[in-house]
Symmetry: C2
Subunit: 150 residues, 2 copies
């Protein structure tokens, strides 16, 4: 499943033998991008409308979400390797630690994006602002707090 | 480990039989709050200094983090139940879906807070802005994007 091999300026760390907690994939994200190279580097709120389809089991948990114009989306970057501690992004050429970067490559490949809610159709949300691959697993949705408080 | 029993206005959903992916606890958060009732409802950037201690294995991944005045912290709310789809917060008395609330109770109990970085001492970050229990497991750190872009 991993697309990348380590490059110059990258340092690999052995992963622990076991994970400490489990996540449920609660839905799936559909976007126009089917290859990583096609994804925009950073989603923008005037980007294309993408859809987030919630699993039947969790649909009732969407009750009232339409009251929130901006939603924080957490998703699982299932294609990213998890064992790099230092990385050297092509874009900057500067080596930095994984926690000083927003790269998908990190011990827990969880992304956080803020999106604008365009519509809700049953268990599907239509949103703008994502930059992830089509088929990415969803792990959480929350009302966004940006702009009101940290 | 769960502190809460369902109350009026809450709806429970059976959890799936298995989780879909695993997370590593990469460190631990120390705060002044040892009981949930003592935690502030929402951390503020002028709140007390808390410490985030990174596990030895991951310390090199902090390289360069001091360049970022604001950090997004993802942590695992290990005391929260995961099986409510509708909740009725005491504060509002209004029933809403778990995805329309920032309550700790959600299928994947992952919290996201933005903090100000006060200092870095080896593998320990000193920060302001948290509101979680002492001993909460850390799962990710990223440079904050708030204020520059969604």
């Amino acid at each position: 499943m991993m697309d990348d091999e380590p490059r110059a300026g990258e340092v690999v760390m052995a992963l622990p033998a076991a994970t400490d907690a489990g996540v449920y994939f609660i839905g799936v994200i559909h976007t126009p991008w089917t290859k990583r190279g096609d994804c925009p580097k950073r989603g923008t709120l005037d980007g294309p409308v993408c859809s987030i389809v919630i699993e039947e089991r969790w649909r009732e948990a969407l009750t009232g979400i339409g009251d929130h114009p901006r939603i924080q989306v957490l998703y699982w970057m299932h294609r990213a390797r998890r064992d790099l501690v230092l990385q050297t992004p092509f874009r900057t050429g500067k080596t930095a630690g994984s926690f000083a970067l927003r790269s998908p490559v990190r011990p827990n490949p969880i992304a956080s994006s803020v999106v604008t809610l365009v519509g809700v159709e049953g268990g599907t949300l239509l949103v703008r602002g994502l930059d992830c691959l089509d088929g990415t697993p969803l792990i959480d949705l929350k009302p966004d707090r940006t702009g009101t408080s940290a």
